[in-house]
Symmetry: D2
Subunit: 349 residues, 4 copies
């Protein structure tokens, strides 16, 4: 068993970490870090619990510590981070001197030699770790996962990229409120409503996706050679991001062929049989009314992305469309960091 | 004052007709037609009222009549129709022998010599009326308005088409539940959820829009020469359709120029000062959080479309994006038919 | 025309004040006060507008001033206050030296000689004003209105109290999110959910109602002699509080008699024909599915309370039940203060 | 393993039965009955699956049979019924000739010698079974469970009744949409809204609760000697009924005493360690913001009722109040029938 700690442990993604790590076969929660306001209290007393499953017994009595490498147990190896962006860069780097930091924060995602990883998509980026450790002369390192809407999109693009020549991607999202954190979206803003803007989201989707699908050499990343245009919107849904995707290829394509490539898509986490890896990263539904966030967000314990309405685009040559749903705080956040850590644990530690 | 009747008067769009025609300066409701189950009853007794404004006094005591031209008052001139599609074609044609039928039903929209009209977009299609009357040797005729999501999109495309060369359009919709009628969407289907499919909607948006923006000659319509790809989704919003639009032009464009052309767009209904015509068909918002359906659906009494987030597309050359909101049962249904009737009343009757 | 100012003008209730005062026949908005952050800016620039009707033109160019009596125009007479409770008591008293302060804040509601008024219920409490002015040797004074759920309940109890002997009242509320202010209820807290607690609400409903229905003598108030037990809950509704009311009387009662007394209830504001007074303060619906907040909150421009399901209680002797809906930010907040000011303007100024 | 069948297997409660019976240690699904429209098809092909967990593999290939005792396998012993009321009485009786029928339908609940059971509350009513079998000269029999809102309320009243003298109960419900079936509540009826009426619900809560808490002698039931007044309302919540309860006792009471009696409440199903029995039927929360349906409906796999805000009633002597949440389609429907069947299986079969 590897001992792990969580930064931002009282927040919504922090709680997801706890929930997913409870009864994890490889990881054992030893440290919960939060702000000074919470430090020194029992976790149960420090936290307003937001998830609909109850707080795991194993964390209730842990005393919350300051967000400081010196306050973490010596035998802890991996630190999961759900720190707020503005606070993450410096703190995560300070933890990386001694610990493996698996971060869901956006601060260091695009930084040189800090691997931004989806284990099914670009495990070869792990090569950056050695360079990172050398540069910093550190025992630990930082590994990050992408933005929630990026992960779901990129997972669906990977088997398309592997088998066809993508020319253009347009994507329009309908994102769940949990993506903004517990206090992020006032109910007055979203009830009976759509909010057509999510700060920084389109930029992240457009840049992170190309980076993840790009190639890496000695720490230098060349983004893939097509482009993506995103329009991001908030919808009155608790969990689960829905994305409408329009793909243009270089050549004509048989839609059944795309379906087959998506539904049979497996990669390294499936090979390695990582604990959090879904049997199939993509579930392709033939029901024209699916995917739906309330019905499909929990597919494979929230780690699979469901794809539906895969259809030729009658308007344009060489084009097709689909809709996807992925769980934004599991596959799109805490579950993504944990899968990264499982990969690290399997390949590197 | 012109006497008017309403087919499908007890339904949700029928109620919108009544609401919008109450205290109308030119039209006077004389006939309310519905199914046999309602016929013979006072309208107030026959109807479960769905709107949040109260039922207008002027209709409460009207005795509902059968949906039959013989049961309509002799001095009635215009018949508004919100009949279900499967029932509309035959019935509307039978009324068209003697009456002007302004229909919101989809059955006859694409039929030769039956004008499909948005008064700000293609009033020249009214030429079809004379041909229609000759062919049928009738005093009346049918005029139709497009599908709710088509109207909002087409209004925004019109000033773009007039001033730039459109090459491709992608549109992803987040549509309100009222578009499916009162019993159309079970709450179990849509609460905390998105439904990624609306039967026939994408086909209508793709074909009707090109037709409306096309040219007409002697009743023959040539669709405009670009294409549109739509992905249509239902969201938990009571009224107001939101659409994310991606435009590719033939040439580079200055986004302020697009903004100016949209916000200054006016057309025939504004010139004629038709009662239901909004002062500006398009309202362009500079607030990055707008348009929102709950906040913008009632702009100009539900007859204007609000456009926001007009921005260059960083991913592709010659491209820009925006989000629009339009009221689906006012500008997108009953209000559309009424504006058509006002145009007819002004130019033809 | 009387010149009026608004404290807390950029907040949600402040915006309702502006909306209701726009085109008011007796009042003219001259001053808009807010926090230092907003002061000095044009109102339009200082404010994120929350209402679905657009911001009235007449306030856009008003320069927001500090919340200080010295910063208000000399010829202003009435100050409406929607200040936060913790800030209201001291500030409202400082304005009351020179101005009439009509406050929606709870801070001073139960303070001796500050009248807590619903014009249809206890206009005789206005006698306190003279005592208040004498005590403070001031030209102005403070008048307050009750809590949103109290107002709706009390309006329905008044004709019952006038005609029957009330013994006990139980009330269970389902309250709209707007009652907590724009940022009050996170969407994560209320979507697909009910929150069974609203801080201080039950205490206010239980004490304010008895006070309003009590008697007043020389500034001393004797609460009415029955009691009320409230259980208050937040529901996913934008505007409009729903309350289920159980009444026990001393004697048996004919339910049609209660209906008649409620639906015919009129009082001083109706006699005086005050601008914001609804023709009937209570609208009694015979439809078993009403009242509903989305359908009934705007009855009489949000100033009437709708009562439905008035029925004998089969479980207990001398008992009956009903459900009410009232608009919490109109009749329950801004509209209440304005009706109070109209009463003052008519009887005292 | 006991073989079981399900009537109404394609409906929403039918699907809950399947979901809860999948991997049940004692029961094995052999028969799925539905309307003629579905009969003869594979279950997977006949059914639109409504639950957010996927359809269990074990039922996909079962061929749906007609709702007829002759079409059920010979070695099936228990038949679960979620038939519509109007259809249930006759059909369930025809199955009861040979099978144990555990019914969630309301048709036979109050019929003489058909036990209406909550295993924690009135297992002694099982005595009726022998009388029922004798009267009908049948091998099988019918056992029923109460209405969803009744079950949750009655479970909380049982330890109060056992330890104190209840005089009066008032209850106001906020019920989830799933209680009305998949197509029961149109989204237009409930979004941003409350519906203040649920047909027959108040009558069921008032009569069934008294019956369950009454005494039974030779098939004759004497209801308990206090009364209950209910006001029932529908709220925009997917699953989980919330109820605000006001209790008046004969004597004064210490609230901590009530808390202790509720939280320590256990009964026969806990003693017998029945598979679906929650460890504690009542979970008492000290958090003033709980219970909430989204957070608490799944407590103990949906079989426990969560009670919160247990507080003295300041308005009335000898009175206290609380709020409860129970899962309406698990503890309030399919789970209730299954627990009944587990009790039967343990004590009678």
């Amino acid at each position: 068993m590897v001992n792990v700690g969580i930064l931002g442990a009282t927040g919504m993604v922090g709680q997801r970490f706890i929930n997913l790590l409870d009864e994890h076969p490889d990881f054992n929660i030893t440290d919960l870090c939060a702000s000074s306001r919470s430090a020194g209290k029992r976790y149960e007393d420090a936290t307003t619990w937001y998830l609909d499953e109850p707080m795991p017994e194993c964390v209730k009595d842990i005393i919350v510590s300051e967000t400081n490498p010196n306050d973490v147990s010596n035998d802890t190896e991996i630190i999961f981070s759900s720190l707020p962006t503005e606070f993450a860069a410096k703190t995560e780097k300070s933890f990386a001197k001694d610990y493996v930091v698996a971060s869901n924060a956006s601060a260091l995602r695009m930084e040189k030699n800090i691997p931004l990883i989806i284990p099914e998509v670009n495990p070869q980026f792990l090569d950056m770790i050695e360079i990172q450790q050398k540069e910093n002369n550190s025992d630990g390192f930082v590994i990050t996962n992408p933005n929630c809407s990026t992960i779901a999109l990129t997972l669906t693009l990977k088997p398309i990229q592997d088998n066809f020549n993508i020319k253009k991607v347009h994507v329009s999202t309908m994102q769940a409120i949990s993506g903004a954190g517990y206090n992020g979206v006032p109910s007055m803003a979203i009830m009976d409503n759509i909010v057509p803007f999510i700060g920084g989201e389109e930029e992240k989707m457009e840049s992170e996706t190309l980076y993840l699908l790009g190639s890496q050499n000695n720490g230098d990343v060349s983004p893939c050679d097509f482009n993506i245009s995103a329009s991001c919107h908030r919808a009155p849904v608790v969990d689960g991001h829905t994305e409408a995707v329009f793909i243009e290829l270089d050549d004509d394509v048989n839609i059944d062929d795309v379906k087959e490539k998506m539904s049979s898509f497996k990669a390294l986490p499936q090979e390695l049989n990582l604990h959090s890896a879904p049997k199939n990263p993509l579930i392709v539904s033939e029901d024209e009314n699916r995917p739906q966030p309330r019905m499909d967000r929990n597919a494979s314990d929230g780690m699979a992305v469901t794809v539906g309405r895969l259809r030729k685009d009658q308007a344009f040559d060489n084009s097709f469309k689909y809709v996807l749903v992925g769980h934004n705080t599991i596959r799109g956040a805490a579950g993504a960091s944990i899968l990264n850590a499982e990969l690290i644990n399997n390949k590197i530690l």
